[in-house]
């Protein structure tokens, strides 16, 4: 069976760093090759900027963590496709467009309410899920 590709939003990474059980299961599954974690350049920049602004001491351990078993990093789209614009909150359209380009199976975020989940599933096949739902559907 093909390893599922899972886009992990920046808020989920931070919940994992802080020890949220479901979010940790997702990052651990990536470490164990049970899933292939995907992020966009924008998500990576957000995480790095957050550490730089609030917690510079944690930046080095973060870089070490992501460099050992790297996630697939998708380029940010130069333009948001028209059909994506109706599917998510304007500030999340960029990362949704990246996830669509990466052909992920699911997109994990703490802010599912920013996405038209049913329409996205129907049009792209991508399941927009909370960490708890991801753990269940991916059998983690």
């Amino acid at each position: 069976m093909k390893t599922p590709k899972v886009f992990i939003d920046s808020n989920v990474w931070f919940s994992a760093f802080y020890g949220s059980a479901n979010c940790e299961k997702i990052t651990e599954a990536h470490t164990e090759n049970k899933i292939k974690a995907v992020i966009s350049q924008k998500v990576l920049q957000e995480i790095v900027k957050n550490f730089t602004q609030k917690m510079p001491n944690a930046l080095d351990p973060f870089i070490k963590t992501v460099s050992v078993i790297p996630s697939k990093i998708i380029r940010d789209p130069t333009k948001i496709p028209q059909h994506v614009k109706s599917l998510a909150h304007p500030k999340d359209q960029n990362i949704l467009a990246s996830a669509i380009l990466a052909k992920v199976n699911c997109f994990v975020t703490d802010n599912t309410k920013h996405f038209k989940t049913n329409e996205i599933k129907k049009k792209t096949g991508i399941k927009i899920v909370t960490p708890k739902q991801a753990v269940k559907i991916l059998n983690l």
Binding site: S15, N50, M55, T65, N94
Partner: protein, 90 residues
């Protein structure tokens, strides 16, 4: 400590005893980091290195005393700012 003899076959191929892999909780498809230390060949599972690095990161976060709520709030601010900037560019 049980030791094993490992033979190197043509084209430098070898078989790692199952028991060693089971003890490390690794299997087919897993990656190792390999290096020489004091004339000894060391194999360290990549997932173990990743987990160690992750724990180190969690420790640094804990020691900072900054709450997750504050970090998530700043994260939302960063995304909002990026969106505002991209709007002003277009």
């Amino acid at each position: 400590m049980q030791t094993f003899t490992i033979n190197i076959r043509p084209r430098r191929q070898t078989t790692i005893p199952r028991k060693l892999l089971e003890e490390l909780n690794v299997g087919v498809g897993d990656d190792f980091e390999a290096y020489i230390k004091n004339n000894t060949l060391v194999f360290k599972p990549k997932k173990q290195i990743a987990m160690d690095a992750f724990k180190e990161l969690q420790k640094a976060i804990q020691e900072s005393g900054i709450s997750e709520k504050e970090m998530q709030k700043n994260l939302r601010k960063i995304r909002q700012e990026k969106y505002e900037n991209s709007k002003s560019i277009h």
